[in-house]
């Protein structure tokens, strides 16, 4: 029982990372129906920006995180303007292929300039403290990562439900043409969406850096895919869905590798994806909609 509880704790902190990445994924999808394949790689860039601001500029963790979030927000906006915007009226497949292109581009341009060597976050940036509660081991990093994921989700939910920009976002996601006719600047809203989504990815990147210490140019691929699975699991386009999906994925993976075989862990993740897509493509929290004829 104790072991199971420990696995649950492990799974939740892993899930928090997936949830953070999935939040950005799901936001972008909600607004422009694009699977932003490059999202995991934006996270990687965020991790690197955080690393360099700590190790070169000597900034503390809060500054590093803000720095990473701001630069990735800009990066996200630039990517959208350069690669995705010209395709807004093309097929979704064209947009998806472009996203794959952007993803490969970010990975290999980083590899080219920073080499394949992993970089190590200085341990002093966020000293570890362990707590033992009833035999369960929980660290301050676990708590930090879970709490910040939840806080960011709440902030995001607030922005979308309560602010004017958020309302405009929902309008754009429901009907872009109509939103435009109502005087909403679709370009601005899409930019804001990318900025927020990318900033969240950057935050996740810095957290991964802090949590696992090592970062490398290809680190975004697998968590990116897993986070996407999480977003689909919860219902893509839905903020709470991404959150729950992320935590579920984390727990599921930990349980599979804890009680089954870690070699099948990735297969299980994709298996879940396929099952969800086949049984309820709109995810756990999504509503079904058919094509209009």
């Amino acid at each position: 029982m104790l072991e199971f509880m420990q696995q649950l704790v492990n799974g939740l902190s892993l899930g928090a990372i997936y949830a953070l990445i999935a939040l950005g994924y799901t936001m972008v999808y909600g607004i422009i129906m694009l699977i932003n394949f490059a999202h995991g790689d934006i996270m990687m860039v965020g991790a690197y920006v955080g690393f360099f601001s700590i190790s070169i500029l000597g900034s503390n963790i809060v500054v590093a995180m803000i720095f990473a979030m701001v630069s990735c927000a800009l990066l996200g906006v630039v990517i959208e303007k350069v690669a995705y915007k010209p395709l807004r009226n093309s097929t979704r497949i064209a947009a998806l292929i472009t996203a794959i292109g952007v993803s490969l581009f970010l990975e290999y341009i980083t590899l080219y300039f920073l080499t394949a060597q992993q970089r190590v976050y200085p341990d002093s940036a966020f000293p570890l403290h362990k707590y033992e509660v009833l035999g369960l081991v929980i660290s301050n990093k676990d708590i930090f990562i879970i709490v910040s994921a939840v806080i960011l989700m709440i902030i995001l939910q607030y922005i979308i439900k309560r602010t004017k920009t958020g309302k405009a976002m929902r309008a754009v996601s429901l009907d872009r043409e109509a939103a435009m006719l109502m005087g909403i600047s679709v370009d601005r809203i899409v930019s804001v969406t990318f900025a927020i989504g990318s900033a969240l990815a950057a935050a996740a990147g810095v957290m991964i850096g802090l949590y696992y210490n090592a970062i490398n140019p290809l680190m975004g691929i697998i968590p990116g895919l897993k986070a996407f699975v999480a977003a689909v699991l919860g219902g893509i386009g839905l903020i709470p869905g991404a959150m729950v999906g992320g935590f579920l994925m984390g727990v599921l993976e930990t349980l599979v590798s804890g009680y089954g075989s870690s070699m099948y862990r990735d297969a299980v993740a994709f298996g879940v994806l396929i099952l969800i897509l086949l049984i309820k493509p709109t995810g756990l929290f999504g509503k079904n909609t058919g094509e209009k004829v």
């Binding site: 892993l14 303007k81 210490n213 090592a214 490398n216 697998i222 930990t254």
Partner: protein, 395 residues
């Protein structure tokens, strides 16, 4: 001008700038390559192929091995070269793919290499092997540990032109099992190794065989994949089995994170591994405290006061701003062994080099004093190294 047209133009501009930057970058590289080789006329150099994983899944291995090899070539050339000729490195990237490894070897043969250093992984070496055998050009694999790299096990024949610089999997696995039972006096152990390469799988296999044959019990066998960062699931499971020792064959990229998580979960038992652990990143990622009470089998220690080792470590540090790992050291030694063989053969003819390599006796590299046995494996000492407060201590 329409708005859409404008955004497309902006996109083109940005992409064009990227393209230019890259092309300029390449051009620059190429120019500097040419400049350094410029003094030597064709035919005056001995061409050494360096077929490494510089991109793709295991790019960091290849990157380090290449760095090590190039330092060796630089040293040799500075000291006047081999047989009065300079060594000319032909560095190519096999993208961590077996087919590209073959492709690269064929290209290097075409360019007139006399021997090849690399690739790093056993799979890529296997890809490269047919081309080397067909063209009768020796290959020195710095780190390909699978037993069948140098021996065709089905035909029970040694692969004439394939040599290696590292231990076989069996050597290291057995050594650590002996160390665990004889020195650490443990009676049961868990194995938690990488399952995505044959190196770690081999180590695990031979460790288990030896450990059990010496009367120990293996209480749990778990695996992870290269690239993983999350190990707490299986570690929690292992913790439930209360092993006295955990054997973690794999590379430092994963092992460092793994050890940290093991210690965080309160697993304080000794942990052991192989030469894949050897990297300064171990201490940086896992932290000195977590690494206490961990041991790994290796060729040498970077903290060994031996002058040859120290001068290599210094040169590497100066050039790459970090300490070398085992790939770098093995890459370095592979070139040194090749130079030694060329000198002994008194010829840069590939077949003669191969014959000289086969006759290697008591060659002293930084990874130890070695001889090449009839199966083209180096016979050299294995040292067990302990991490003590972040320092490496030979046992």
């Amino acid at each position: 001008m329409s708005k859409k047209g404008f955004s497309k133009k902006v996109a083109l501009l940005v992409l064009a700038v990227f393209m230019l930057a890259i092309v300029a970058g390449c051009g620059g590289d190429k120019a500097s390559d040419k400049a350094s080789d410029g003094d030597n006329k064709v035919g005056d150099t001995i061409k050494v192929g360096i077929n490494c994983e510089l991109s793709g899944a295991v790019a960091s291995y290849g990157d380090n091995a290449r760095n090590g090899a190039l330092i060796a070539i630089e040293e040799i050339n500075k000291a006047g070269g081999v047989l009065g000729k300079q060594l000319e490195p032909l560095v190519r990237d096999n993208q961590s793919k077996t087919d590209e490894a073959m492709n690269v070897s064929a290209a290097l043969v075409d360019e007139g290499m006399v021997a090849q250093i690399g690739p790093l992984t056993s799979g890529a070496v296997a890809g490269s092997t047919p081309v080397m055998m067909e063209n009768q050009i020796p290959l020195i694999a710095p780190a390909a540990t699978a037993n069948n790299v140098t021996v065709d096990e089905k035909a029970d024949k040694v692969r004439d032109y394939i040599f290696r610089m590292c231990y076989r999997d069996s050597d290291q696995g057995q050594r650590m099992a002996d160390f665990a039972i004889d020195t650490l006096k443990v009676k049961n152990a868990a194995i938690f190794g990488s399952t995505s390469d044959d190196y770690a799988k081999g180590l695990a296999k031979y460790f288990q065989e030896e450990f059990e044959s010496k009367g120990g019990t293996i209480v749990a066998v778990e695996g992870f994949m290269n690239g993983d960062k999350e190990f707490r699931g299986p570690l929690t499971k292992i913790r439930g089995k209360n092993p006295e020792f955990i054997y973690v064959p794999g590379y430092y990229t994963e092992v460092s994170v793994l050890i940290k998580q093991a210690r965080d979960l309160g697993l304080s038992v000794p942990i052991g591994g192989g030469d894949g652990w050897d990297s300064p990143d171990m201490v940086k990622v896992a932290g000195a405290e977590a690494l206490n009470n961990t041991y790994f089998t290796n060729h040498y220690s970077v903290e060994d006061p031996d002058p040859a080792i120290q001068s290599f470590v210094e040169a590497y540090q100066a050039k790459h701003k970090k300490a070398p790992d085992s790939f770098a050291a093995l890459g370095y030694d592979s070139v040194k062994l090749l130079a030694d063989a060329i000198t002994r053969a008194d010829s840069a003819d590939p077949v003669k080099i191969k014959e000289a390599l086969e006759k290697t006796q008591d060659f002293t590299g930084i990874t130890g004093k070695m001889s090449i046995d009839e199966q083209h494996n180096p016979v050299k000492n294995i040292v067990v190294i302990e991490y003590k407060d972040g320092k490496l201590v030979s046992r």
